[in-house]
Amino acid sequence: AQSVTQLDSHVSVSEGTPVLLRCNYSSSYSPSLFWYVQHPNKGLQLLLKYTSAATLVKGINGFEAEFKKSETSFHLTKPSAHMSDAAEYFCVVREGSQGNLIFGKGTKLSVKP
């Protein structure tokens, strides 16, 4: 069975410092992996996706993630946090090309001025 574990429920950084949101996955097959962001009272927006192409994936707003099969990880990073990055971030796995999505519990990112 596939699953996703987000290792931190809450991450707090200062503006201008790097962001690291950690995600480990479990999947029997070659997974597709996603990161979504949810701002307060808004729907989810796709940040980036991995679908068995390049292991380093670049997304919107300066975010990127690296797929590491040996570590079953898909951590999200950004070199320099901005106040507007404060939101809830979800790591998501999909098994195969037609499976439904399985969401992690989310990581709340706070950005201090």
Binding site: G43, L46, S97, L101, I102, F103
Partner: protein, 115 residues
């Protein structure tokens, strides 16, 4: 631009009432989904549809029902609302292209409170 709409955005209703949450998308996507999300928690899939006249139950058991009479419309109905139904409900859609369902686009959600 991808557009997926949900109405109402907020709903406060008494126990026993019948409610319908609306979801529409203008992208012509085949597959549509309903998720339930409690505050600070992950999303759980409650219903999905591959296309017109197709409805499937998701991973989380739900007393709600759905219908898909038109491609663009995927309403969710609760026949008799209860306080345990209080939650946020998110609708999403995705396109089948190149042998796979591409990323899901989400609506803004409906926050339901049952008193």
């Amino acid at each position: 631009e991808a557009d997926i709409y949900q109405t109402p955005r907020y709903l406060v209703i008494g126990t026993g009432k019948k409610i319908t949450l609306e979801c529409s998308q203008t992208m012509g996507h085949d597959k549509m989904y309903w998720y339930q999300q409690d505050p600070g928690m992950e999303l759980h899939l409650i219903h999905y549809s591959y296309g017109v006249n197709s409805t499937e139950k998701g991973d989380l058991s739900s007393e709600s029902t759905v219908s898909r009479i038109r491609t663009e419309h995927f309403p969710l109905t609760l026949e008799s609302a209860r306080p345990s139904h209080t939650s946020q409900y998110l609708c999403a859609s995705s396109e089948f292209w190149g042998g796979t369902y591409n990323e899901q686009f989400f609506g803004p959600g409906t926050r339901l409170t049952v008193l």
